[in-house]
Amino acid sequence: SADAEQIDFLRDRHVRFFQRTLQVLPERYASLETTRLTIIFFALSGLDVLDALDMIDRNMMIEWIYSLQVLPTEDQSNLSRCGFRGSSHIGIPYTTKGPGVLHPYDSGHVAMTYTGLCSLLILGDDLSRVNKQACLAGLRALQLEDGSFYAVPEGSENDIRFIYCAASICYMLDDWSGMDIQKAIDYIRGSLSYDNGFGQGAGRESHGGWTYCAIASLCLMGRLEEALSQRELDRIRRWCIMRQQSGFHGRPNKPVDTCYSFWVGATLELLDVFQYTNFDRNRSFILSTQDRLVGGFAKWPDSHPDPLHAYLGLCGLSLIGEPSLRKVHPALNITQRAFQHLQQLQQTWRDSSGSCLRQH
């Protein structure tokens, strides 16, 4: 029937959408310059979810990502600024090797370090060229007294998004010295609203994206049930599950938007109640935002697709078990395949540090 045709999933269009994204974007995308690494993440992880990474030149991508690492200078004076940049916009000459170049304004950005590490994992890299101690030093420099994080050492807004980035970085590097967990938990708890969703910080309106950051962070830290009581968790479940209208919206009385099928859906999955949502209505909505011509997904039907909504739309479909899509790790927001690669890596790190200890 015509209806069934309208809601079929156009896999190949989405593959081409992400492939084009990885190439060249027109100038009207200028505002994405400092966040290009996050765009790469959406495209690579999107292709991973589609099981279409084989068409990628992995080594080329890996080199380019490593060129974005802010490495320590000879005298290590910039350790608190290390991590990954979003792009080459500062003008550092291209290099994938250290030592770092001294530049008055060059520093990492916490969301870029997070998406950089994810992207390397997705590409099968072993992170051996990541200066982990420098990344962690850069991370420590970003945390405030109240437990939240800045994005950059020069200062920026500070809120729960960057706690999520920090927790993901520590989780991937298997090293929690990058943050004060208790302070982060205090900030997260402080962000719990009277209506049982999480805001970007204390007193602020609850929102699906920040609720994801809160719950996913606690899960990555392994502190979900320590930080929140059963009663609180049940209330949070209620807030989240009330977000479903057809697809999901991010705040009460706001329109539904494709990306919340992931932000809220993944939160519900982490809280063990995603199974109680309505998969059919969710799927119908996500597919109504599919761009049948250029591929990708938009936030709303009859709108322009973009890499973020294209990626999160796929993740939303993956959560409900769309055939041909890889499963996504709901807290880390990479495929289970990439996650298994991480686990194997972490095992080799532990084995080798264990054998070092045995030798001494």
Binding site: Q200, W263, I320
Partner: protein, 389 residues
């Protein structure tokens, strides 16, 4: 005014309504303010508004432009025009030398015009504002204009906050934010900035009135309800019985006007959930009345929560009233059925799950009439996994 895609710097978990999907228009070339070159007499007729690249400006000749270097195989490369590259090649040159000058300050405005999401440009501009002791009042006018054009950009609000802090003068803020909210009453950045200003400078006095006006305009504005809670919890608090009564009445009145409003019900429940939902004198009765004429999924969920609360508190008493418990349980389960089968069918599985959990917890030796799980673990699934088509 042509606008670039509105994108925050932090895509992965940014305020996602405020992301790339706004209207996209290509910038018009004639928006750039040009500099007239110092031409000799024969160029007297040169158009003073003709744009001149930085590389062709005599007073920039001392500086070597720094191109962006993406290496041999760039990924997600943005194809910049000559004009764009020219401005940013000189921006990179200034940055490298950490130049502190008027010409650098002027260039940051051009760079911002091209990409207001570049946080390095904003940071550098702040460094210059201080190094050159620039007029911060003028900067306030500048940032006001930019935010009016691009109200969903993180960097511009952060910049405004910094300038307000330096001036230690919040006097324009409430009016400015009100103006932004008049264009989009749910702009998350605007509300965040408003909360910061009010809390930092103790400007609580007129805020409840402001909130009430917004709720008059749109009783479903969840941001305004949140602000209401913010103001009251930081001023009188909710522990005062008079305040609590007033707020309960306010909620019920708004619900009578617009029954299908999750925000009002969330506010009501939020106030009371730790104060004994089921023990507010007369409230349950009022809600049961409203159920007849102003029903909604939110009302029914509230009733369910009341019954659950009464089950919980009665089960903690010395002498448990078993009859009362049975009645509360029965009513709660009826609500679950009503929601699952009729009033909130999209959440059918969830309401059935809650019913099972409640029955498992408080059902006691009743002997279930259907094959429900007796497992007291609230998260044990017993529904069939959903299949896609």
């Amino acid at each position: 005014m042509a606008q670039a895609i509105k994108l925050t710097n932090d895509l992965t978990m940014s305020g996602v309504e405020e992301t790339l999907n706004e209207t996209v228009e290509v910038k018009e070339d004639n928006e750039f303010d040009g500099e007239v070159e110092d031409h000799p007499v024969d160029d007297y007729m040169a158009d003073p508004t003709r744009y001149v690249f930085y590389r062709d400006r005599k007073d920039w000749a001392d500086l070597e432009p720094v191109p962006q270097d993406d290496g041999p195989s760039p990924v997600v490369k943005i194809a910049y025009s000559e004009k764009f590259s020219d401005v940013y090649d000189y921006f990179r040159a200034l940055l490298k030398n950490d130049e502190r000058s008027e010409r650098a300050f002027a260039l940051t405005a051009d760079a911002i015009e091209l990409n207001a999401a570049n946080y390095t440009v904003w940071h550098y501009r702040r460094v210059l504002l201080q190094a050159l002791a620039k007029d911060l009042r003028e900067e306030m006018r500048y940032i006001t204009a930019i935010i009016e054009e691009q109200p969903k950009n993180y960097q511009v609000w952060h910049h405004r906050r910094m300038v307000v802090e330096w001036l230690n003068d919040p006097s324009e803020e409430l009016e400015f934010i009100a103006d932004i909210l008049s264009q989009d009453a749910k702009n998350y950045h605007a509300w965040q900035h408003r909360q910061w200003v009010i809390q930092e400078y103790k400007l609580w006095e007129s805020e409840l009135e402001f909130v009430e006006n917004l709720l008059e305009e749109d009783v479903r504005n969840n941001s305004a309800w949140n602000q209401r809670h913010f103001v009251i919890s930081h001023t009188t608090g909710f522990s005062d019985a008079g305040v609590l009564d007033r707020e309960i009445q306010y909620c019920l009145n708004q619900i009578r006007k617009a029954p299908h409003n999750e925000s009002a019900w969330n506010y009501l429940k939020g106030m009371l959930q730790d104060r004994g939902l089921s023990t507010q004198p007369g409230l349950l009765e009022k809600v049961l009345e409203l159920k007849e004429t102003h029903c909604s999924p939110y009302l029914l969920a509230f009733l369910f929560d009341c019954y659950e609360d009464s089950l919980e508190s009665s089960s903690q008493k010395e002498n448990i009233d078993e009859e009362e418990q049975k009645i509360s349980l029965k009513k709660a389960l009826e609500i679950c059925e009503l929601l699952a089968q009729d009033k909130d069918t999209i959440r059918k599985e969830y309401w059935l799950f809650l019913g099972r959990s409640l029955k498992a917890k408080y059902g006691g030796g009743d002997g279930g009439t259907d094959a429900l799980s007796e497992d007291p673990e609230a998260s044990v699934p017993t529904s069939e996994p959903q299949e896609l088509n």
